[in-house]
């Protein structure tokens, strides 16, 4: 048996150990960050690309296919990026509404008394979740929306026309073989929105299903025995309890949808990411463009989180 000293060596002393570990980690992080930053500064100086924001005021020189804010090539870069941001917000907000509605329908369908409907809801979720979103977006754009007929052959419903040139709402009229209407959405927007809604709805359906399943069966039975009709039971008894589970789950799905909207570039929609990519290619301002891009998505995420946290506070059980 070897002799052991009674005194703990200093490097195993619990008073110093945490500081030693943290010091080592801080040293490693510091050295790595310093190394990267030095290289960044050296490389940027060598290419004359040191951080500057004045280029944002120069004319962009490219056009955007689809904007709400009026935009043309003579307007500055910051206007282009703002127009892209507005496009992103447009598709995110429309997507949130659509995905919530479709997801709730499919999620509640998995509790239907009809066996076929129940199984179809499961099949929908399992099929959509296991196919990459990008593949689905490309499918919607190239296979479905770009194959739509144009002119007289377009799909026509009262007050609505769906053609290769877009979705026309209001009272669409055919003028010289071209559809005209007060409200028009492009097929790029349509494909992106459809893809995002169909994909996110599968995840929201799972959240809704989990939420409803978390309400004990006795709640249904008690309400029924008190004479509540099924829809009223769902609205007044089950949903208020299910929402406590559903709302936190929705939060992360909403943020995913906002981030996934950056795949717009695959179906030719000019969102923030696609405008930023063009801007970077033209100006070479990699750092500034990335800062704007990451910052914008971070703000969108934070706003969604804040709103959902507010909603969560409303639906949670208030204890006195």
């Amino acid at each position: 048996m070897t002799s052991r000293s009674e005194v703990t060596p200093w490097w195993r002393n619990r008073r110093y150990l945490p500081w030693l570990v943290q010091g080592a980690v801080a040293l490693v992080i510091g050295v790595v960050v310093a190394f990267l930053l030095t290289n960044l500064l050296l490389n940027l100086t060598a290419r004359g690309l040191l951080l500057s924001w004045s280029w944002l005021g120069q004319p962009a020189g490219f056009d955007l296919a689809e904007t709400i804010l009026p935009f043309d090539a003579s307007l500055p870069y910051w206007r282009a990026m703002l127009a892209g941001l507005v496009n992103t917000l447009r598709v995110v907000i429309a997507g949130l509404v659509g995905a919530t509605v479709l997801g709730t329908l499919i999620g509640t369908a998995s509790f239907s008394s009809n066996g076929l409907l129940r199984r179809l809801a499961r099949v929908y979720v399992e099929v959509i979740r296991n196919i990459p979103l990008l593949l689905q977006l490309i499918f919607w754009y190239f296979v479905v929306f770009l194959a739509l007929p144009n002119g007289r052959d377009a799909l026509q419903l009262p007050g609505l026309v769906l053609a290769k040139s877009g979705l026309f709402l209001g009272s669409p009229e055919l003028v010289d073989g071209v559809w005209q209407a007060p409200l028009r959405f492009t097929v790029e927007f349509g494909a992106l929105l459809t893809g995002l809604v169909v994909y996110t709805a599968a995840f929201i359906a799972e959240v809704v299903r989990g939420g409803i399943a978390s309400v004990p069966k006795g709640q249904w039975e008690a309400a029924t025995s008190l004479g509540f009709p099924p829809l009223l039971t769902l609205r007044r008894i089950v949903l208020p309890q299910a929402l406590r589970v559903i709302v936190p789950g929705l939060n992360s799905q909403y943020i995913s949808l906002a981030k996934n909207s950056s795949l717009a570039v695959a179906c030719g929609f000019t969102d923030l990411y696609s405008v930023s990519e063009t801007t970077l290619n033209q100006t070479g301002r990699a750092i500034e463009v990335m800062l704007i891009l990451l910052g914008s998505y971070l703000v969108i995420d934070l706003v969604i989180s804040a709103l959902m946290n507010g909603l969560n506070g409303l639906v949670q059980l208030r204890e006195r």
């Binding site: 945490p18 801080a26 409907l117 990459p132 990008l134 593949l135 795949l263 998505y297 995420d301």
Partner: protein, 413 residues
């Protein structure tokens, strides 16, 4: 003590079907509408698939879809790798059956396995023929499938004869095979170098996905432990990293990797574009895996770590031997969910100009010869991705029951 199963009166299948579909008048109407819609959709699909679709686009580009622009004279290396993989798969499959969990019955060919073998044989015979590959390549696929089944049979039959000492080393076969595979694919050690820019198609997708999955897991576990650490620097460092990554869309990070990594490293040190994307995928997935693992760590009672510490285990050992085994078991479904997402996320490589499976498809679509064949190609890609992701999900569920200490098929310690 076994509990008595509840007494269930089973109605005849027809009667149950009637109750499921036509329980009430509304249900009946819904069922009829759904059945009509399904029938119309099914008929329309079959008419398209059999008479309108032109599948020649797949057979004409099968090599491109499989390996991209990998040099033809070096493709024997990939065939060798496929053969090795088939042998290792058959061998492991057989051993799993030779040493089942204590609850399961040992059988050389259980019913599931007979089905799997039959499906494999049909796929090996039919797929190369449907793709109209040359006879030489068809024969190779038959040979590889045959070897897989042979290895499966041999391991199931003679597996129990392997001495205990050797058996413990068998799982090391896979990491070893991975290294051999990397050498075979990229070259070196006397083989001609094949630069990553020439990898493509399924090869690139599988390589990126496996690389990122293997590396993001340990990183994610470290980040999750860091986030739960009592040391403020570790905790805040992990939190900032995880939240930064989770706040940004993957495509912007891939874009950042392609455009900014060159500025961050001294000239010439920056890795190839393919490897840059691989590292971005890894670091991206690590943040999500960290959150999955953290949910497992939360589920382990604090008393476990305290008990281990009071028995004299230092913190690292207590974490490795007591906390992590329990946490990872809880975190398994969420972690595999992240791996599935990661496999799907490899399609984003096509947006930064790499020729993964989807990128290859997009270049093929750009060829005027195959204009307008989008539906055929994307449908096949969707089926391929769907099968891989669904298989991963099924595997995760099987592993979950095997690891669950309360399930009947769990191995006894």
């Amino acid at each position: 003590m076994a509990t008595t199963p509840p007494l269930v009166v089973r109605a005849s299948p027809l009667r149950r079907l009637q109750k499921e579909l036509f329980g009430s008048r509304l249900d009946g109407l819904i069922s009829i509408a759904l059945l009509a819609a399904l029938l119309a959709a099914g008929l329309g699909f079959f008419r398209w698939a059999l008479f309108q679709a032109q599948w020649a686009v797949l057979s004409a580009n099968s090599t491109l879809f499989a390996v991209g622009r990998y040099p033809v004279e070096q493709q024997w290396r990939l065939w060798l790798l496929t053969t090795l993989l088939a042998l290792a798969t058959g061998f492991s499959w057989g051993l799993l059956r030779a040493f089942p969990g204590s609850g399961a019955v040992r059988a050389l060919w259980p019913r599931n396995d007979r089905w799997a073998a039959a499906i494999l044989a049909v796929l090996a015979l039919w797929r190369p023929m449907a793709l109209q590959l040359t006879l030489a390549i068809q024969v190779r696929w038959w040979g590889i499938a045959g070897l897989l089944l042979l290895a499966r049979w041999a391991a199931g039959r003679y597996g129990p004869a392997i001495p205990q000492a050797c058996r413990r080393l068998i799982p090391l076969l896979w990491p070893l095979l991975y290294l051999v595979g990397m050498v075979l694919i990229s070259g070196g050690l006397g083989l001609v170098q094949v630069p990553p820019s020439e990898w493509g198609g399924l090869l690139l997708t599988v390589l990126m996905a496996t690389f990122a999955i293997l590396l993001c897991f340990p990183l994610g576990v470290l980040l999750a432990l860091g986030r739960r650490s009592e040391l403020p620097l570790l905790r805040w460092g992990s939190v900032i990293y995880i939240e930064f990554i989770r706040g940004a869309p993957l495509i912007t990070l891939l874009f950042l990797g392609q455009n900014i990594l060159g500025f961050l490293l001294p000239g010439g040190l920056a890795p190839d574009r393919v490897w840059r994307a691989a590292w971005v995928l890894t670091f991206f997935a690590a943040a999500y895996v960290a959150e999955a693992v953290r949910s497992g760590l939360v589920a382990v009672p604090a008393g476990q770590l305290e008990a281990a510490r009071s028995l004299g285990l230092p913190v690292p050992l207590a974490l490795v031997h007591v906390v992590l085994p329990q946490a990872l078991r809880v975190a398994l479904p969420a972690t595999v969910g992240q791996f599935i997402t990661l496999l799907q996320d490899t399609t984003l490589l096509s947006l930064i100009g790499l020729l993964d499976l989807l990128g290859t498809a997009r270049t093929v679509m750009a060829n005027p010869m195959f204009l307008g064949k989008n539906a055929e190609v994307y449908l096949v890609l969707a089926i391929l991705f769907w099968s891989c992701c669904a298989a991963l999900g099924l595997g995760s569920r099987a592993l979950e029951t095997r690891l669950n200490p309360h399930s009947p098929s769990a191995p006894q310690a």
